[in-house]
Amino acid sequence: MELPALYFDVLNTSAAEGIYVENGVPEIGSLGAARDGSVGFDIIAAVSAWPTALTEIVDYAETYIYINDVLAWDDEGFKAGFSGTVEDVGQPEDYERNVVRFVIDHSDTWSSEQVVSVRVVSKTRIPDLG
């Protein structure tokens, strides 16, 4: 069989605590995405400590996803014109929602060469971290 290839580079570690939007598909700034494709990303809560009883790190009640400045998702679910999945993909299993993966589909096909913006508003349930 033909051998595949896995290249990797810029292996860095981040020591900055916080909540991040990462692993976008398509990646931020990328070109040539399919017009009928979905938008995906992870909210990563990279935090060092939280109250023992607190298991759900990303606060859904304070999370809002906007696609082209239109609200696509909040704690009540996907809004009209949008669908998709919200999945807790974090590890370890003993803490929930430290990585939350959104995959959002748009009911209409994007226009050719349209720039699609994604704005994520979110916070953790950890006081003073945001």
Partner: protein
């Protein structure tokens, strides 16, 4: 990072690739074959990768750039994974004959303190 395993007789290691422009410079790590069309015998479930022991104390995320070229052999697929202590924390497969490239991928490494084994792996996963 030391090359840890072989796949199809090809060593995994640090190279100057001809089929990717690494964002960090001329060199990058490669598992598999840089050139298209390299044919080798691969067993079901065979895997290869590059691994290193890293002190993750105080580290919140592991960040990297990557390119993954799937085999073009019909009916066969490989799965990419990043494992910490043999547990997959990041991974996916893509259709036969396709390629993806990302400037930035991130793994939440919050839970770790001390030295852990971090491995970038590909595994023949047609039977999975």
């Amino acid at each position: 990072m030391p090359a840890s395993l072989l796949i199809g007789g090809h060593a995994a290691g640090r190279i100057q690739p001809t089929n990717w422009t690494p964002p960090g410079g001329e060199w990058c790590y490669l598992v598999g074959a840089d050139s298209d069309g390299i044919i080798e015998e691969i067993e079901d479930g065979e895997e290869s990768g590059i691994e290193q022991s890293i002190d993750l104390t105080g580290i919140f995320m592991i960040v990297f750039a990557m390119k993954f070229r799937q085999t073009s052999t019909p009916g066969r697929t490989f799965r990419l994974s990043v494992r910490i202590d043999d547990t997959e924390w990041f991974g996916f497969s893509i259709p036969t004959g396709t390629t993806v490239e990302y400037v930035r991928r991130a793994i939440n490494a919050t839970r770790f303190t001390g030295v852990h084994n971090v491995a970038f792996m590909i595994k023949e996963a047609s039977g999975s």
